[in-house]
């Protein structure tokens, strides 16, 4: 295995949770809901995935548990912000704090346990392609899912009637409501989907990235995912570009250090953030396009008039 291949393999592992969480959040935000609880939903997904894997012996049960945990956490957020019309920013922050605390409590008895890794699945024929095969077609199920989810989101948002409705709800909930779209229901679905994706990202952390449970193991990845959505100007494939760019620069800077190129490590450590922001700003420089893509009702509460 060449060094380039080794680097790319690490990049894929590092980028997958960011892409997943950001893709989920993108759908929620496209429907007009700003959920700052990504970090909390992610860590809930991580702990539940790990616990379920330990109890059942199967990492696939773990993946399901992670998805369910993320979705349930987001349901709480949805109930507070959509049904009770609580402030989205405050509720999202509270969800993050709650998730970090509750996950620590749930995970207490699973600390120090040997994790069970979600094993890669080689896709017949494709995995035999030189170079690309081992990279893209000998991966774990969560990686395949992440790609399928992004493609699915793109298709759904821009090629289906329901996707159009969802975007309408995010752009002008008043108009969508007047046209007979069920704003609250649409937003509930979008928030739930976002939570499920964050939970899946969490499962990736505790089953693939580092198969173990430690408190706070998401270490801020939820916040990076949130930033990715904005800098990708709410476009699904740009989220992938941003996530992989971030992962690539993070891993490359570690290699650069190990190689001993003599650039201060503090500077190298900040590179992923700088590079991702710069590149995504450049590709989103068309102000008109950015405005079109920004959900105009983002973060605004909606109370239907009955």
């Amino acid at each position: 295995m060449g060094i380039v291949e080794a680097i790319l393999l690490s990049v894929i592992t590092a980028a997958t949770p960011l892409v997943l969480a950001a893709a989920g959040e993108l759908v929620a935000e496209r429907s007009g809901v700003l959920n700052l609880g990504v970090e909390g939903m992610m860590i809930m997904g991580a702990v539940c995935a790990f616990a379920a894997t330990q109890l059942s012996g199967s990492p696939y049960i773990g993946v399901l548990a992670g998805v369910a945990a993320g979705a349930l956490s987001s349901l709480l957020f949805g109930f507070l912000t959509l049904t009770l019309v609580a402030n989205q920013v405050a509720t999202g922050l509270a969800l993050t704090l709650l998730g970090l605390g509750v996950s620590g409590m749930l995970g207490e008895s699973f600390l120090g346990m040997q994790g069970i890794k979600l094993q890669p699945i080689a896709i017949p024929v494709l995995s035999q392609i030189p170079f690309l095969g081992p990279l893209l077609f000998r991966q774990d199920a969560i990686f395949y899912l992440s790609m399928a989810i992004v493609a699915g989101i793109h298709w759904f948002l821009f090629r289906t009637r329901s996707g159009l409705k969802l975007r309408a709800v995010g752009d002008s909930h008043g108009s969508a409501h007047a046209l007979g779209v069920d704003v609250i229901r649409t937003r509930y679905m979008a928030v739930l989907f976002g939570g499920a994706c964050a939970g899946l990202a969490g499962a990736q952390l505790s089953l693939v990235y580092t198969p173990q449970w430690v408190e706070n193991m998401s270490a801020g990845r939820g916040w990076i995912a949130l930033a990715l959505v904005v800098f990708a100007s709410w476009r699904p494939w740009r989220v992938v570009a941003g996530g992989y760019l971030f992962g690539a620069v993070s891993i490359s800077q570690l290699h650069a250090q190990a190689f001993g190129i003599g650039i201060p490590s503090q500077f190298l450590s900040s590179l992923p953030y700088v590079a991702t922001i710069v590149v995504l700003i450049l590709i989103s420089h068309n102000r008109r396009m950015t405005l079109i893509n920004t959900p105009a009702s983002l973060g605004k509460p909606f109370v239907p008039d009955r």
Partner: protein, 356 residues
């Protein structure tokens, strides 16, 4: 209305008095942790020390702790909260709490503080540290014996004297066995991020190191080493569970005896500010069992450990040059503690540029 206010005031006064009274009965000993008390590494080792205080002096003291306190200005609020809540003696257990500890100590002259691994003291601030570098010297020797390629990977956290000292000691130990030995250093710029630590471990292994050592807090690097089939050293706690076939040994921090000693001094009213820096011989750090290595390597490690304990061997003893080749210590000359505690240079043989 006035009556109600008066009643309220009285109640508060009584309650306030009551809490003071109970504080006099049982002294409150408090701890500030940078990570989670169950991180399997640094903070867990401190918490085991706290539990020992609770166990041995539980009839006279109660302990309290705050975990996951971020380093830097945020730490001030946490420490101040403990000082206000009636803690008599507060242990702040991370290097990055240094300035916050000094600042809050000035505000609360009657509260005693103990700061781990720092170098600033005050009339009510003592410092304590452990000579981890003694263990790293032994690890370096083992690495030089066990490595096929003669290159070890070192996952470092932040460029502070503590960490630089560890890298130097590891290299000096390794070069005492194999003068050609090299290390590759990766700065993770974090104490705690399993994903990033694992990435650093993968990067180092991909670049050909076949021994891994870490100065970060989680077992993620050990896990990667196990998966890739190379050997590694544990950090702060015995990490053998994460790599039964991987861990060679680990530096295990055993703070308990020190915490009990200082708490006792505090209870007796004999607490005074000190700068304590104990080592292997005092039992403030111990080496986890030497495993996964041939008997001769194990014998060498044990012999070195015994020599360090007896004082016969001091890792930072000349002839030693600095990284740029200038002379640092003459033949037989040992470094003084002040130089070590402020260490901001590499010794010869470290293949990395020290971030300044």
């Amino acid at each position: 209305m006035k009556k109600l206010l008066l009643a309220l005031a009285t109640t508060t006064a009584v309650l306030g008095f009551a809490s003071v009274a109970s504080a006099q009965e049982k002294a409150k000993i408090c701890f500030v942790y940078v990570g989670s008390k169950t991180d399997g590494g640094w903070t867990q080792a401190h918490d085991i020390g706290r539990q020992q205080v609770e166990k041995e002096l539980g009839d006279k003291v109660e302990t309290q702790f705050l975990e996951n306190v971020p380093e830097g200005p945020d730490a001030e609020r946490a420490i101040e909260r403990l000082a206000r809540s009636g803690c008599g003696l507060i242990f702040t257990t991370s290097f990055g709490f240094m300035d916050a500890t000094i600042k809050i100590a000035q505000k609360f002259p009657d509260v005693k503080f103990e700061h781990a691994t720092g170098y600033k003291t005050a009339p009510n601030v003592a410092t304590y540290n452990s000579r981890f570098y003694e263990g790293r010297y032994i690890q370096g020797q083992i690495a030089a014996k066990m490595s096929q390629k003669g290159v070890a990977g070192y996952i470092a956290s932040f460029p502070i004297p503590e960490v630089v000292m560890g890298i130097n000691s590891f290299v000096i130990g390794a070069r005492s066995v194999n003068p050609e030995f090299k290390i590759k250093v990766v700065w993770a710029n974090t104490w705690f991020d399993p994903g990033k630590e694992a990435d650093a471990a993968k990067a180092l292994i991909d670049q050909g190191v076949d021994i891994l050592t870490q100065h970060t807090d989680t077992t993620a690097p050990m896990q990667v080493a196990a998966e890739r089939g190379i050997k590694a050293f544990g950090q702060a706690s015995d990490m053998i569970a994460a790599g039964p076939q991987t861990q060679l040994t680990a530096i295990v921090d055993t703070w308990g005896a020190y915490y009990v000693k200082r708490t006792q001094a505090f209870l007796d009213g004999k607490w005074e500010t000190t700068s304590s820096w104990d080592g292997l011989k005092d039992g403030i750090l111990t080496m986890a069992p030497y495993t996964n290595m041939p008997d001769d390597v194990k014998a060498m490690a044990e012999a070195t450990e015994a020599k360090i304990k007896s004082g016969e061997l001091k890792p930072f003893t000349g002839p030693l040059n600095k990284q740029d080749g200038t002379a640092w210590l003459k033949e037989g000359e040992s470094s003084d503690d002040a130089t070590l505690l402020g260490m901001n240079f590499y010794v010869e043989g470290v293949d990395d540029k020290l971030p300044q």
